[in-house]
């Protein structure tokens, strides 16, 4: 385990940025944290988490897939893919780090999504253990330890500096590249910090929430539940929850006519949208109830069904904070459990 003095933070960032683009949470014009490229003088945000998740770096909201160039009656197909440059993501929280593993299960299995893979290979993730979790946090529900996040390198904020631990070869290489700024340290300080935070986590309002009764094999049990009607009633059908979600992975592919050609791009889709998975024959989910149910069934049942029981939620709490009408996965989980208990 290595240690970085707080006074060395900016030189540390500078050293990382010398080798690759460095992104870290920075407060924006309205005082909310978002990942931004580090430049000399940029200060890291002290916020618990970014408004948007870190998934954007591997699965951006929009990306061009290919182009068609048209001249008169001639059409050329152009491959627009470019090799991604190396980059470092600093300050990713445990929840978001866990989301990458979920996205990998979608995009790195056959057929591999080469656009995603390219970025995953070139990105190095430095996570930062949580020090001051919020009431909306419930990563523990999904077995995620906010005090010991995954990532290529794990960092803990201590009173006078940061403890750093490489978890992967990429992480080793990253720490090696800045070795001059680091000193060796033992795990005692980190363990003390973890104990402090774990005590707080245990007091969080959602700390008792478990996945018991949810997950694999529950499709028949949950699909026709009457609770969906009341739960989905207030849903506006906006995409906020999906767009701030670190694990939502659905996209739409569209063509944009530029006037001199076609750009084929993909962009995030939301199962809350009325045209979600609309096909030539029409739309398989015509009501908001069905679309709402799809979102939560996917995270709580279908994804675990197809992925060895792993849930499609990491408990980051963004949807809890952002939903315009405050409907969210926690309320859904509780309602389904309660309904199950009553049956």
């Amino acid at each position: 385990m290595k240690k970085l003095q707080k006074t060395q933070l900016q030189p540390f960032f500078a050293a990382l940025a010398a080798n690759a683009s460095l992104y870290l949470p920075v407060d924006n014009e309205v005082g909310k944290a978002e990942f931004k490229k580090w430049q000399d003088g940029v200060q890291m945000s002290t916020a618990l988490n970014t408004l948007r998740s870190a998934k954007d770096f591997f699965f951006p909201q929009t990306e061009n897939l290919m182009e068609f160039k048209m001249e008169g009656k001639r059409i050329d197909v152009i491959d627009t893919r470019e090799e991604c440059e190396d980059f470092v993501l600093f300050g990713v929280r445990a929840c978001d780090a866990a989301s990458f593993a979920i996205l990998d299960r979608v995009y790195l299995v056959d057929p591999v999504d080469t656009y995603y893979k390219n970025r995953r290979e070139h990105g190095t993730v430095v996570t930062l253990a949580c020090g001051r979790p919020a009431e909306t946090c419930f990563c523990g529900t999904f077995g995620i330890d906010a005090t010991d996040p995954a990532g290529d390198v794990t960092a803990w904020e201590l009173a006078d500096g940061y403890a750093l631990r490489a978890n992967t070869e990429k992480g080793e290489a990253l720490l090696a590249s800045v070795a001059a700024l680091l000193t060796d340290t033992d795990t005692a300080e980190v363990e003390a910090e973890q104990a402090r935070v774990r005590a707080i986590l245990a007091r969080l309002p959602l700390s008792g929430l478990t996945t018991e009764g949810l997950g694999e094999g529950m499709t028949k049990e949950f699909f026709a539940r009457p609770e969906w009607a009341a739960l989905s009633e207030a849903c506006l059908g906006c995409g906020t929850c999906t767009f701030v979600c670190p694990t939502c992975q659905c996209y739409d592919i569209r063509d944009f006519d530029t006037g001199h050609g076609i750009q084929r791009f993909r962009c995030w889709d939301s199962c809350m949208y009325s045209d979600f998975t609309k096909m030539a024959h029409g739309n398989p989910r015509t009501s908001q109830l069905e679309r709402f149910r799809q979102r939560f069934m996917h995270k709580l049942v279908y994804f675990p069904d197809n992925n060895d029981g792993i849930f499609g939620c990491v408990g980051c709490g963004r949807c809890l904070a952002r939903c315009p009408i405050s409907m969210n996965i926690v309320k859904v989980m509780k309602a389904l459990k309660k309904g199950g208990a009553e049956q």
């Binding site: 048209m70 008169g72 009656k73 006519d257 006037g259 015509t286 009501s287 069905e290």
Partner: protein, 664 residues
């Protein structure tokens, strides 16, 4: 995918002189969907059209782009040619490379490039064109004429002559209008009544003509061929079917102090009255505002003297509904109220009169039985001053007046001056004018006679003030030609007041959605080429409601108007413009935004059942457009937030495709 043919016209050298037509045809031939592209000397010529038709046949074209002169010139020509080969005429688009390119640009490279771009825009549009079918609507074979003056009478007679029914709605108790009040007419000096009253009688006796006098239009709905009008028949308190017009009631009525509007208030009539001897219909009317019986319940003399029992004090207004195929507006005019021009002393002295009042003072059936006497002391005036352009031709700063020339004043003043000099040679007559305007058949000769033979003093100049002094009217004026101030002590001053559209015109225009200008004259569909039609289909204009006119002009326009109406009524069905708005019910919110901006009332709403999710049904309010009423302006398409409302032939996508092609 369309199969588009492009036809580039040289227009002799009009286009080819500046645009490289061969290059344009070649460039456009490369566009997606274009399967044939050529150029030709004169596309609009018979052989040009044959060339197009052959290409349509040979290449199985589904769309046509003609790069030529303005679509305002030959769009119809090329649409017809395409239609002859079975291509829907609305699959033809014109790229205007003459007026918009070759005629305004000198540089060939620049002009050619622009021509190609306009051609591309037309091609982009044709790709999205859809065949449009013009709808048909039936025609009610009856016309409504609003206003029973000479304009309305003439129009009605001509329409009836062609065998169609006509209703005349006249708000006063009799038809006849302003012409009935006139004495003589210029430039022939024949008596107005002698030429008008036979026409009034003709109208009354024509079995095709229904006269609804003392009636007002309440509402009009519908569209060309299919109007529904509600007409309020005001209570006369006299049964029209029983009254013989004998006039005994009007003689016996004790209420004698009612200002006589027919004589411009220069004398009085009774509370029950017939406006003038030749009134049509010749039926008495009780003026409820003055009738003692109506006001106090005591009197009833007319009822007692009426031999036919026609008097009915309990009569109520009735509203009848009639259907029409066409509507003629013939609402005429009024002189403006002279009291706003008090510098001329109109309110101070009874001897300052308007020209129309003078007509009555000179009329044998008028208050003085045709002897010209001053209203104040009933003496014969020896010096008379005419003031021209009172309220006409005013500049913007004069809020009391009108910006336009009232057109008839110069001539009737010459008439008045001449008649006075003829009858009373001892009278001095002065006319103060800005200009004397006499462009008409025998008009200038008439005016010159007034000056040369009758010795009327025409003075170019303005009257500044008229003040009553010792029984005389002291007129201060300037003589612009002599550049001197004049002071004339006159016995009578006559104001040639401007004429303005009848006050009812504005609300009528709104009711008919017929456009008007800022002076409340009805606007014609085209100032030169469609002068008797309103832009609103099925609404026609007759007489002064459209603009100042004298009698011969009014009568010619009235007949022209009748011809246009007959043109509509003679058809069994009307073809509609297919480029109309339509509402996609699946997208429509029923919010009424479109309805609020539709100038024609073409949009209506109904509750319809739709499929909801999962086999449910939903009832929603949705808009629909009556294609026979819609004129295709497109105001609704922008008011509609959901894009449910679109315009055929000029759809959102078509226009955006043109934008894209131009900006590319």
């Amino acid at each position: 995918m369309q199969r588009i043919g492009v036809f580039v016209c040289h227009c002799g050298t009009n286009i080819a002189g500046t645009v490289d037509v061969v290059a344009v045809a070649k460039a456009l031939g490369q566009e997606p969907g274009v399967v044939f592209s050529t150029e030709y000397q004169y596309m609009c010529s018979e052989s040009g059209q044959q060339l197009m038709r052959a290409a349509i046949r040979e290449h199985k074209l589904t769309g046509v782009v003609v790069c030529s002169c303005s679509p305002r010139m030959h769009e119809a020509t090329f649409r017809k040619a395409a239609a002859l080969e079975g291509v829907n005429p609305y699959m033809v688009e014109i790229a205007n490379i003459r007026e918009h390119v070759s005629w305004i640009h000198k540089d060939m490279a620049e002009a050619t490039e622009k021509a190609v771009i306009l051609g591309r825009a037309a091609i982009a549009k044709v790709h999205l064109n859809a065949p449009l079918q013009a709808g048909e609507s039936p025609v009610t074979k009856r016309a409504l004429v609003i206003g029973g003056g000479i304009a309305g009478i003439q129009t009605a007679l001509d329409i009836a002559e062609a065998g169609f029914e006509v209703d005349i709605v006249e708000k006063s108790p009799t038809i006849g209008g302003k012409m009935a009040q006139l004495d003589k007419t210029f430039p022939t000096l024949d008596c107005a009544a002698c030429i008008l009253t036979p026409k009034m009688v003709d109208a009354a006796q024509n079995e095709k003509i229904n006269i609804f006098a003392y009636s007002e239009l309440e509402s009009v709905k519908g569209y060309i061929g299919n109007f529904k009008a509600q007409i309020r028949r005001k209570a006369r308190f006299v049964d029209e079917t029983k009254c013989t017009g004998c006039g005994i009631c009007t003689e016996k009525c004790p209420q004698k102090k009612v200002p006589n509007e027919f004589n411009m208030g220069l004398d009085n009539r009774r509370a029950i009255y017939i406006p003038f001897a030749q009134a049509v219909p010749k039926v008495a009317t009780i003026d409820a505002n003055y009738c003692t019986m109506m006001k106090t319940g005591k009197c009833g003399i007319c009822s007692k003297v009426c031999g036919t029992g026609a008097i009915d004090y309990t009569q109520k207004d009735t509203v009848i509904e009639r259907e029409y195929g066409a509507i003629v507006v013939a609402t005429g005019f009024n002189p403006i109220d002279a009291k706003v021009y008090n510098e001329y002393g109109y309110m101070d002295s009874p001897d300052v009169v308007t020209s129309l009042e003078l007509e009555r003072l000179m009329n044998a059936a008028g208050p003085t039985n045709g002897t010209l006497l001053r209203p104040s002391d009933k003496t014969h005036p020896h010096t008379i001053v005419f003031v021209q352009c009172v309220g006409s031709r005013c500049d913007e700063t004069d809020e009391r007046g009108k910006p336009y020339c009232s057109k008839i004043c110069c001539m009737y003043t010459a008439k008045h001056a001449m008649l006075i000099r003829e009858k009373y040679p001892d009278t001095d007559v002065y006319v103060f004018y800005i200009d004397v305007r006499t462009p008409g058949k025998n008009f200038d000769e008439f005016y010159r006679r007034a000056v040369e033979q009758y010795g009327v003093h025409y003075i170019k100049g303005q009257v500044g003030k008229v003040v009553e002094q010792n029984g005389k009217l002291h007129v201060q004026a300037s003589d612009l030609l002599a550049n001197e101030q004049l002071h004339i002590d006159a016995d009578l001053v006559v104001l040639a007041t401007a004429i303005e559209p009848d006050k009812t015109a504005r609300s009528l225009g709104t009711m008919l959605t017929a456009s008007m200008d800022t002076n409340d004259f009805f606007t014609e569909a085209h100032p030169k080429l469609r002068p008797v039609e309103s832009p609103t289909a099925g609404i026609f204009l007759s007489g002064v409601c459209q603009g100042p006119k004298d009698i011969p002009e009014t009568v010619s326009q009235a007949s022209a108007c009748a011809a246009k109406v007959i043109g509509v009524l003679a058809k069994d069905k009307l073809t509609c413009n297919p480029c109309v708005a339509h509402s996609d019910e699946l997208l429509c919110n029923g919010c009424s935004s479109c309805e609020k901006v539709c100038p024609y009332g073409a949009i209506s709403y109904s509750d319809k059942e739709f499929r909801g999710p999962n086999r449910t049904t939903l009832i929603r309010r949705v808009a629909s457009v009556n294609p026979a009423v819609c004129q295709g302006c497109g105001a609704c398409t922008v008011a509609c937030p959901s894009g449910a409302m679109d315009l055929k032939g000029f759809s959102n996508k078509q226009i955006m495709a043109e934008v894209d092609a131009i900006c590319k």
